[in-house]
């Protein structure tokens, strides 16, 4: 009998619990020490209805929609089921009742009490009581004879007594149990059970066995035991068919015996080994619900007793209908059936598997919306019974009986539909909800919990009120409103409270706005929706409110009550949120299938520039889940949470895709726990949520406390160092997207935070780089370097060269070069702007340039400019190609690559002259998508540090678009990364000056102020080819006077390669020993050329930079330190 043990779930507080099914088997009903009776629509019900019956509930019984409970106020009460209305007190004792039970017809209730008495009461007339006296200790349990003649009870005095109810006399008494003085001290609860139907046997748990006593003769006929069952049996329960007996022990084992064969057919163990104190069979016999003394509820599903084995059901029914059948005959019958069963079990087993699959699905179903759950469950149950049912029909003569048997399953009437359609079943669409609210059927609930405050609704009998409370009391004082209109939806912002109620037959659906921030005296307005149109969802933006209605419309009001917009939605709204000027709407796109929801999402932007940013694209949800929260981060990035606990955030940098940023389930301790999200912050990264133990929603009391969860992108291998850093990096990138969004939509941004995040990202990149270096993954290093800003690339180069990876270092310098190219590409445009002719001190150049850059983006550029840029691009490409081809030709020789570098190094000065170039490093614009911001930010950090040094240079920054712009003096980059800036600068040189290459050659000795530091630093990169080139350049240019600079290099490369190996070697040697004289000369030559052709300002700047360079040394040390630290 394979059955599935579902995971336990938290139901009540610790202490004695009991469980039963309702007559239809649709609900599991439990009671516990907390005095509540909970009505579960299945084990996965996360929001069970509950009825409070007293301080503690000791026992419960349910029949004919009457719920009888024994509570701590010494009474036995009736409540209606499932409404939970009190229906009077059945009887009272002098102390609490310990066990209550119905007779088979539900007309009487028996209750045993700690005051030694057992009472039998007519349900219809509680004055008709029979008291059974005779126990000498608290009564442990009572059970009715299904034929209503007798009653059995067990007591702490050790006796199990059978009473004649009519005569109120003891028939027989067995001293079977250990004596104790109180129920709480009893080793076993000794729940007796009388076989239903034939009423043949009374099952009495005695120690670790279950003894069966025969009715009338009261003989002990058999004992059910199991070798593996060593602990005391606490409770027993007969299957509805009467053939199986389930027992739960103190040690948590659950056994099911086939009574006829006395074989143990099922053994399960409580997952934590807690004492099982309640046990109940599903009316169909396919499930057993059990509870333990820790207040948890569990379920064994898929018992074969009757769902998949109709023979038994059928025979049971036969037995019931023919009560005259004698003992032997019954067992004979059953034996026959069992044989059949065994024959059939093989054929059954394949069927079993798909069913198990269904059960799994069922399991997942608890993630489906509450509204959808019941129906889909029924469908699935149905499938179970149908699968087996149809199989039965073919095989068994009892087919008809079997069907009637399964009629107990509530959804049986759907059976005939099955052959008609076997495809995937549509999922019931999830209902509209307000994110941050708890379900409307609760009497005390949250109507809204968001970052502004809390709106609570108290819907008692005596009054219906709404409490509005603000997290920050500075916004507004708390409000208390009477809810005469019956509002069910609310939203709260810094400006107003928006409430809405659904329409009734007489009254239209109303929208009420408490505009508390209004400066006039009217702080409230109300709008009636057209007849027949109901509010489904609402939200408050900044200065406006939006309402989604049942007529598939979105109505937008201003906060003062002016109707502003109206538009239609393609489907039923699920929920809607607003932030600032953005409106995010999620709606049903189409029916979903197999538990999936098909949701669409629209993101609209109001305000001055109205636009639709997301045009109804599908909203990705986890498998078989539904939307459970929707909102914006505090910074305005849309995000949502699905019922699987996965938090997803809009990734604006990758075309409005959704990135999962957290799975709240991973932090849950048990499966039934969850986190109820109330807000998300990107800076600092915080997921604010309320931990809910054993439920999906928090109760209003005690007041829940907000917890903060960290984000974690589900990257691969996050247990490794590499994975961790990658995760951090991706997360940091994702969570800094909002900066660019905010700045582009005209909001202020927290520059400090932004630069911090940028710094963190670069730091992480550097760490990852170092790690890959260690792992000898040079290609990966290069990939990482491509993500870095220029100044970090220079650090990387240093790292690579220190760890003796020259090849890598050279590749990196290529990248650095490219990066500077990119920066410079943008630069000429700027220079062409008005400022181009103006002399400027080096410090200010950058800010102007930045401004120029902004404007150049926004406005048309002059043709001339464009042309020039094109030219430059063309040339640049050429150079790139040249260097690349060289590299390819001789990938291993340093010399092959270095010439490009060497060629460029001498021009270092020029590069420094314009600090903007160096600083405006940024990432490759293609990668970041927001180069402008990045650059500015970059500038900011560095400039702040070095500000005191920059002196007068700082004056002109104010004219930039973004006020954070600070003067752009020299940066670390320059000082630490001489080589780097050299290449960069040289690169620029090539662009600007290639056409003047010839001129350059002619002006060898133009004086330029060169800092000695430069010279020494520039030595390093020199290679053999460089030296050779110096020597031979003239001859090359002489040979080919019309060659451009790049071509000269190409040509030189070719010639150099044709040299003999020894020659080349000697050049290399020379390069190593260094040739200062040569170097200096060359430097001057180049620098002079530059000075001549570039604006005079640059020459000046050179001086500046030279001076600054020295002053900046400390910061270079700093950066080196930071680097080491990494």
């Amino acid at each position: 009998m394979p059955c599935e043990r579902k995971p336990m779930r938290y139901g009540h507080s610790e202490g004695h619990t009991e469980v039963c099914f309702d007559d239809s088997g649709k609900f599991i009903v439990t009671c516990g020490n907390d005095g509540d009776v909970r009505i579960w629509e299945g084990l996965d019900d996360d929001d069970p209805k509950f009825i409070t019956v007293g301080e503690k509930a000791y026992s419960l019984a349910l029949k004919n929609n009457k719920l009888v409970t024994a509570s701590s106020n010494n009474t036995v009460q009736i409540h209606t089921f499932p409404d939970g209305d009190p229906d009077g007190i059945l009887t009272r004792f002098t102390t609490n009742a310990t066990h209550v039970t119905f007779n088979s017809s539900g007309s009487r209730v028996a209750a045993g009490s700690s005051d030694f008495m057992v009472k039998v009461v007519e349900v219809s007339d509680s004055s008709q009581q029979k008291t059974l006296r005779g126990h000498e200790a608290p009564v442990l349990s009572v059970t009715f004879d299904p034929k209503d003649d007798f009653l059995a009870s067990a007591s702490c005095d050790g006796n199990v007594v059978v009473w004649n109810i009519k005569e109120q006399s003891q028939l027989i008494s067995w001293p079977l149990l250990q004596k104790t003085n109180d129920v709480s001290n009893a080793k076993s609860l000794c729940r007796l059970a009388w076989q239903p139907g034939t009423a043949k046997f009374l099952a009495v748990p005695v120690e670790s066995k279950v003894q069966l006593y025969e009715r009338e003769s009261w003989d002990h006929v058999s004992t059910l035991s199991d070798d593996l069952l060593t602990q005391l049996v606490n409770v027993v329960a007969w299957s509805p068919c009467g053939q199986f007996l389930a027992a739960g022990s103190v040690g948590g084992s659950l056994n099911v015996w086939d009574v006829s064969s006395k074989l143990c057919v099922e053994r399960q163990k409580h997952e934590k080994g807690f004492t099982v104190c309640g046990l109940a069979w599903h009316p169909s016999g396919s499930q057993i619900a059990y509870t333990d003394t820790e207040g948890c509820l569990g379920l064994l599903d898929g018992l074969r007793t009757s769902t998949s084995n109709s023979t038994n059901t059928a025979s049971k029914q036969a037995a019931v209908t023919k009560p005259a059948k004698d003992y032997d005959a019954l067992f004979d019958d059953d034996d026959d059936d069992r044989v059949m069963d065994e024959g059939q079990s093989d054929t059954n087993s394949p069927v079993k598997k798909p069913i198990a699959g269904d059960d799994d699905d069922d399991d997942d179903d608890f993630l489906m919306p509450a509204t959808g759950r019941v129906r889909s469950r029924a469908i699935l149950d149905d499938e179970n019974s149908l699968d087996t049912g149809s199989l039965k029909l073919g095989q068994e003569k009892f087919g008809d009986d079997g069907d009637t048997g399964s009629g107990v399953v509530p959804a049986a009437p759907l059976v005939p539909l099955r052959p008609a359609y076997e495809g995937p079943m549509p999922t019931p669409p999830q209902k509209a909800f307000q994110p941050g609210s708890t379900p409307a059927h609760l009497t005390h609930r949250f109507m809204m919990w968001n970052s502004v405050g809390i709106v609570r609704d108290y819907n008692d009998e005596q009054d219906n009120a709404i409490d509005v409370e603000f997290h920050d009391t500075a916004v507004h004082h708390a409000m208390h409103l009477t809810n005469t209109l019956g509002h069910t939806m609310a939203d709260l912002s810094q400006e107003a409270v928006l409430l809405a109620c659904p329409g009734t037959d007489e009254l239209a659906s109303k929208l009420q706005c408490l505009h508390f921030s209004s400066w006039d005296t009217n702080k409230e307005w109300m709008v009636d929706l057209p007849q027949g149109e109901d509010v489904r969802a609402l939200c408050l933006g900044q200065g406006w409110a939006a309402v989604a209605t049942s007529a598939l419309m979105i109505r937008v009001f201003s906060i003062g009550g002016v109707q502003r917009e109206i538009f239609s939605l393609p489907g039923n709204v699920v929920c809607m949120v607003a932030h600032g000027e953005q409106l995010l709407i999620v709606y049903h796109r189409a029916p979903g299938f197999d538990g999936e929801q098909a949701l669409g999402v629209q993101l609209l932007q109001f305000g001055p520039r109205k636009s639709q940013l997301i045009h109804g694209e599908p909203l990705p949800l986890s498998h078989r889940s539904y939307l459970s929260w929707l909102g914006f981060t505090a910074e305005g990035t849309p995000c949502y949470v699905d019922s699987e606990g996965v938090v997803r955030m809009l990734n604006r940098s990758v075309g409005n895709t959704w990135t999962p940023v957290c799975n709240t389930r991973e932090t849950c301790k048990s499966k039934s726990d969850s986190y109820w999200v109330v807000g998300i912050h990107e800076n600092p990264q915080q997921l604010r949520c309320i931990p809910c133990k054993g439920s999906r929603y928090p109760p209003t009391l005690p007041r829940p406390a907000v917890a903060i969860l960290p984000f974690k992108l589900p990257l691969c291998q996050t247990s490794t160092e590499k994975g961790q850093m990658e995760e951090q990096y991706c997360r940091s990138l994702l969570f800094s997207n909002h900066f660019s969004f905010l700045s582009s939509s005209g909001y202020e941004i927290d520059e400090e935070a932004q630069s911090q995040s940028q710094k963190d990202q670069q730091e992480l990149l550097m760490k990852m780089f170092a790690l890959s270096c260690k792992l000898e993954r040079e290609f990966r290093c290069v990939e990482l370097a491509e993500l870095m800003t220029q100044k970090v690339v220079t650090l990387a180069i240093r790292y690579a060269s220190r760890s003796r990876r020259m090849a890598l270092a050279q590749r990196l310098s290529e990248i650095a070069l490219e990066k500077s190219n990119q920066i410079q590409e943008a630069e000429p445009e700027e220079e062409e702007e008005d400022y181009s002719s103006v002399r400027r001190p080096s410090g200010s150049g950058q800010s102007e340039a930045a401004q120029g850059r902004h404007s150049s983006r926004r406005y048309q550029e002059e043709e001339q400019e464009e042309e020039q840029r094109e030219e430059e691009e063309g040339r640049e490409m050429e150079t790139d190609e040249a260097s690349e081809t060289k590299k390819r030709v001789n990938p291993f020789a340093k010399e092959a690559v270095s010439p490009v570098k060497t060629n460029l190094t001498p021009i270092t000065k020029g590069g420094r002259a314009n600090p903007f170039k160096v600083l405006g490093s940024g990432k490759p614009s293609s990668a970041s998508g927001q180069p402008r911001v990045t650059n500015i930010l970059d500038n900011m950090t560095t400039s702040r540090k070095s500000f005191p040094l920059s002196g007068p240079a700082g004056k002109q920054n104010k004219n930039t678009v973004l006020k954070p712009l600070a003067p752009r003096p020299k940066t670390k980059t320059q000082s630490t990364l001489l080589q780097m800036s050299g290449t960069k600068a040289s690169n620029k040189k090539t662009q600007q000056n290639t056409q003047l290459a010839a001129d350059r050659q002619k002006q060898p000795e133009a004086p330029t102020p060169a800092s000695p530091a430069d010279n020494t630093e520039n030595k390093r990169p020199k290679t053999g080819f460089q030296f050779w080139l110096e020597e031979n350049r003239k001859s090359i240019t002489a040979d080919n006077p019309d060659l451009e600079e790049t071509d000269v290099i190409k040509e030189a490369m070719g010639r150099f390669r044709t040299l003999s190996a020894e020659d080349r070697l000697s050049w290399t040697e020379r390069a190593k020993t260094g040739d200062p004289a040569d170097l200096k000369k060359r430097k001057r030559a180049e620098g002079g050329a530059e000075g001549a052709e570039t604006e005079k300002g640059q020459a000046e700047a050179d001086e500046n930079s030279a001076k600054k360079k020295k002053s900046l040394d400390p910061s270079s040390k700093l950066s080196a330190f930071a680097f080491n630290k990494n």
Binding site: F470, D472, R688, L701
Partner: protein
């Protein structure tokens, strides 16, 4: 040492509050506090929590141990054991007193908690007296008591030391020779 001094020390313990105002980090000699975000729990020392509470600037989240079930369990254990059981906080008594006096509206079942803590306190003090009694009556030279809180030590210190001094004087008068060595430790 005065009880108020012990209480003063207890005020250094941190407690979670939910502020209803927003404030950046504040930098104090004892460390940084905050930042305070409305609605978001933050750890602050008790003295600040009470100050804010009195100005109605926050709600105090009672410490995890300040819970009826946990305290009941502790009380039972305390009663069962002969020795002192570990207490949830070295300042449990002071904190209970302070928080319940100033923030009883934020603490569910405040009265029960008050009673339970008082019970635990009484049990422990009784044990302390008992051990002091047996210490003296058995003429022990030293004894070891674990898990005592500062407040508890403080309550018995004055009395115990004074009475030991007294006893010493009396005994040294009675048996000038013999008892000297025994009480030398004091």
């Amino acid at each position: 040492m005065d009880a108020s001094e012990v209480e003063f020390l207890a005020e250094k313990e941190t407690v979670k509050i939910i502020p209803n105002f927003s404030l950046d980090k504040i930098y104090l000699i004892g460390g940084d506090l905050g930042p305070f975000n409305p609605g978001l729990p933050v750890d602050v020392p008790v003295w600040l929590a009470l100050n804010l509470k009195q100005r109605q600037k926050c709600r105090i989240v009672p410490p995890a141990w300040m819970d009826v079930d946990k305290l009941e369990e502790m009380r039972d254990l305390e009663r069962k054991e002969d020795t002192f059981t570990p207490v949830p906080s070295p300042y449990y008594m002071e904190l209970t007193k302070l928080l319940l006096n100033f923030a009883s509206d934020n603490i569910p079942k405040a009265d029960e908690i008050r009673t339970l803590v008082k019970d635990i306190w009484d049990t422990r003090i009784a044990k302390l007296r008992l051990s002091a009694d047996s210490f003296i009556s058995q003429l022990e030279a030293h004894a070891k008591l674990d898990n005592l809180t500062l407040m508890e030590i403080n309550t018995i210190r004055v009395f115990l030391l004074d009475s030991l001094n007294c006893l010493y004087k009396l005994r040294s008068n009675q048996h000038p020779g013999s008892s000297k060595g025994q009480f030398a430790d004091f």
